[in-house]
């Protein structure tokens, strides 16, 4: 069993095609979210909007290793996971507009993206509350003999919740195929890791439950990809849970209402120097795998996809108010 493994950074082998693919996925999330922030200021998107900018390497690096039939659960900061998982940009944007063409018919909004086809189980906004769900989903697969992995994303804040400890204990006790991905962005909303945890080594807490646990540079998509590949392979073959702590940072405020009084601008700037997209571009260029033309090409594609997503949301329709009381209980016709 590995505990507190720190993988070497930026030394992972990579070819041009894979490099371009990872870059494309990260750019999709970045540009989508930049557009979302803009639309928020135009009041097209309301409620809470939690941006993932700066953390793209985590979702992209992990998701590439999952099969289409695996289960994915995420937090309320989950646009990145949804897009990386393959939920369409239009369906996500329409959801944030509150339109019925959204991936949850506009009933969920930014914090509650769901998709059946990609087995994307939210968009969960009670911190730590989705960890037990992941345990149960993996238990169901194990009982049926289905060789699925359940991958759950959560933040450093969730690690202080009782449900984190209950879920890790259960998954290790019952040998369940769960990949726990802790996105440690150093703040639970505005409270720093050091102010929340007596022990700030989060992987050590997972290791205490007897599971393989690794800390990974979450600003490095290649490191994330390699660590997740190792974890997913081990889970699929051995069935036992793994924990990856992705050390990352969000460049934007917690939500659109956050004045960011709790952290220094210099700290934010330092982390921006570790931008996962710029880091990957630098690595790929150093290895002569891509050119500026490639990047321009990707930006062009992403720009078109974002524009089409916005158009889809703009063209979407409002659910009739007469339908207000639907989806409280199961309707066969909806299935």
């Amino acid at each position: 069993m590995k505990t507190n493994l720190t993988l070497p950074e930026m030394t992972v082998e990579i070819d041009r095609e894979h490099g371009l693919h990872l870059l494309h996925q990260m750019l999709r999330i970045r540009r989508f979210e930049e557009k979302s922030a803009e639309l928020y200021t135009q009041q097209k998107i309301r409620g809470f909007l939690h941006l993932y900018i700066g953390e793209e390497a985590v979702a992209v690096g992990v998701m590439e290793n999952l099969d289409p039939d695996d289960n994915v659960l995420a937090t309320y900061r989950e646009h990145g996971q949804a897009l990386a998982r393959g939920v369409s940009m239009g369906a996500v944007m329409a959801e944030m507009y509150g339109k019925q063409e959204g991936c949850a018919r506009g009933r969920g909004g930014s914090m509650h993206l769901f998709d059946k086809e990609t087995r994307f189980f939210g968009g969960n906004a009670i911190v730590g509350g989705h960890l037990p769900l992941a345990v149960g989903m993996a238990l169901a697969d194990k009982m049926r003999g289905d060789n699925r992995v359940t991958c759950i994303f959560f933040g450093d804040g969730a690690v202080a919740e009782g449900e984190f400890h209950e879920a890790l204990n259960l998954s290790a006790l019952w040998d369940l195929p769960v990949l726990f991905v802790c996105e440690n962005n150093r703040y639970g909303m505005g409270t720093a890791l050091e102010l929340s945890h007596s022990v700030t080594d989060l992987a050590a807490k997972a290791a205490a439950y007897g599971m393989a646990a690794a800390s990974v540079n979450g600003m490095d998509v290649l490191a994330m990809h390699a660590a997740a590949r190792e974890a997913v392979t081990a889970i699929r073959h051995g069935g036992s849970p793994w924990f990856i702590e992705a050390r990352t940072y969000r460049f934007r405020a917690h939500s659109m209402f956050d004045a960011e009084l709790y952290r220094e601008k210099t700290e934010v700037e330092e982390w921006k120097g570790l931008d996962p997209i710029q880091s990957l571009i630098r690595t790929l260029k150093e290895r002569d795998l891509i050119t500026d033309d490639d990047i321009n090409q990707l930006e062009l594609m992403v720009g078109i996809e974002v524009d089409e997503g916005v158009r889809f949301a703009e063209d979407g329709t409002w659910e009739p108010v007469e339908d207000l009381e639907r989806f409280v209980y199961w309707e066969e016709a909806v299935a």
């Binding site: 289960n71 019925q100 959204g102 991936c103 949850a104 018919r105 506009g106 009933r107 969920g108 509650h112 769901f114 998709d115 059946k116 189980f121 939210g122 968009g123 969960n124 009670i126 509350g129 989705h130 960890l131 037990p132 769900l133 992941a134 345990v135 149960g136 989903m137 993996a138 238990l139 169901a140 697969d141 009982m143 049926r144 009782g162 449900e163 209950e166 879920a167 204990n169 259960l170 006790l173 639907r326 989806f327 409280v328 209980y329 199961w330 309707e331 909806v334």
Partner: protein, 343 residues
Amino acid sequence: MITKTKPNNLLVTPGVETYTLTYREAVREAMREAMLRDERVFLMGEDVGNYGGCFAVSMGMLEEFGPMRVRDTPLSESGFTGAGIGAALNGMRPIVEVMTCNFSLLAMDQIVNNAATILHMSGGLFNVPLVIRTATGGGKQLAAQHSHSWEGWYAHVPGLKVIAPATVEDARCMLWTALEDPNPVMIFENSLLYNLKGEIPVDPQPIDIDKARIRRYGDDISIITFGRSLFKVLDAAEILAEEGIECEVIDLRSLRPLDDETYIDSVVKTNRALVVDEGWKSVGISAEISARIMEQAFYDLDMPVERVCGVEVPIPYAKHMEEASLPQVEDIAAAVRRMVDHG
């Protein structure tokens, strides 16, 4: 204690061949039948396996079905209730046993924020076919952390179904229907009913989980109740019958949804309504029933709706104090006499 009253309408399908068993055995038989019929069904909870269940409900099931399907859990109410929700989302039909509903409050986040909301938040994509069984009620001198009735809190929540089987037949036959329901269903079993003996059909059939039942017919007053209080009300009705007062006794059976039609029709007939609930009055089930009667049958009432409920105090340990805190047969009879004399 359960009295020896022989109420007159405790079987849903009277006239069929029956046999006698306890409420505890009825729940166990219902779970066994479900496990035998559907391999997606499994039981999970604290001490359900090796111990045989805190109330011995699942005794012998570990031996019969094995540790994969009868799962002892750690003391992690939120963790294993959430795991039940996750398993239900992923195609299983779990029965989660929460030892008492007092401990279910540790899982309230899972039940209220996840089980009750996921179908809606996902725009109808993902449902949670989960059954949670939990013991409720006071009367065993277990004081304020093991005696309360929390069914009213859960019945407040859209997205949940909440049922309270009082009779042995309901304990035997409502579980299968609950398991077949595509929504999360909470079953509140009053722990003082586990030793109750009753008749059930030799060939029990699944029965509805959303309709109230008239357990005794009468013209003078409607008494609306559920769970263990049903038997106290029936005892009171027996005493009152000897005095010439005929009570109509309605067993709600389902607390969400409420079957308005059955008790409103009764009130329209009798023109008087008394609600009996072990739970507290304030913002509780009795308050809701009373409000609905006012909304739907105000002009049929001869007098205000009255309530006999748990006294608004955390349930005390000392026997005489605990008894004083819960509705008793004499409290119910006295309220009825007062109301009927008045009218």
